[in-house]
Symmetry: C2
Subunit: 118 residues, 2 copies
DNA sequence: CATTGCGCTTACGTTGAGGTAACTGCCTTC
DNA sequence: GAAGGCAGTTACCTCAACGTAAGCGCAATG
């Protein structure tokens, strides 16, 4: 065991927490989960997604879609017919988030009870 | 089934996502997980916590501790000896976060592989 | 040929999370 | 009585997220 001094322990702790922060970066923020859910529910077109989520504006949507694509959670598909048609679909990889989302959801539901409901 | 029109479906989706956002609010941000972990590892005093986390400053720590206390994840204990001594301890309730953290951690570790690794 | 829809982009403004530095009141130690 | 530790607070600043409004190029539609 190397955990004999404070410094090593500290570094170890930071390393342990880093993946959690990574995950939160991907899924955190005001819109990511909402947008991903909308897409998974079958909203594929830009406007469709936009109008399916109240108060979401096109500038923010465009940026969030780019982020989600970078993280390989969605795919942007361009159909070169005329008029050009663009679709966003969730990747298989995005399904790996299911367990995480479920845990977050359950904890969130329970937390509401804990803090308000008696 | 009430899910016959778009509006109902939309509201339903929003409701489903809300608990996830609640959970992310509690545990999100740059410092919360780090601070909670530090406390769980046995750092109980304000200065102790502060110095155990690099780059964390007292103003932010004070605010985050208040948040965590409001959400009942930690307890602030004042020992009225002289000199006054103050301790922060994780509540039993905070342990309920373990599964969520584990899922986030595992997903985060895997995500690093997915995005960079081969 | 005006309007509408699509998939955005651009220029601007606001807000809040987080950072910096200094300082406070209280107590102990040198 | 100067210095230092503890548990913060205060005033000020920065920056990125997010919001608002408008517009662009293209195609279809009336």
């Amino acid at each position: 065991m190397l955990l004999t001094d404070g410094t090593t322990k500290q570094l170890n702790c930071l390393a342990q927490v880093q993946p959690i922060r990574d995950a939160l970066d991907v899924v955190g923020g005001k819109w990511k989960v909402l947008i991903l859910t909308a897409i998974m529910q079958g909203n594929r077109r830009f406007r469709e997604i936009e109008t399916s989520i109240p108060k979401l504006n096109p500038k923010v949507l465009a940026k969030e879609l780019k982020d989600l694509e970078e993280h390989q959670l969605i795919q942007r598909i361009v159909h070169d017919d005329y008029p050009v048609l663009i679709e966003y679909v969730a990747t298989d990889y995005a399904r790996t988030l299911k367990k995480v989302m479920l845990e977050l959801h359950d904890w969130g539901v329970n937390h509401r009870k804990q803090v308000f409901g008696k």
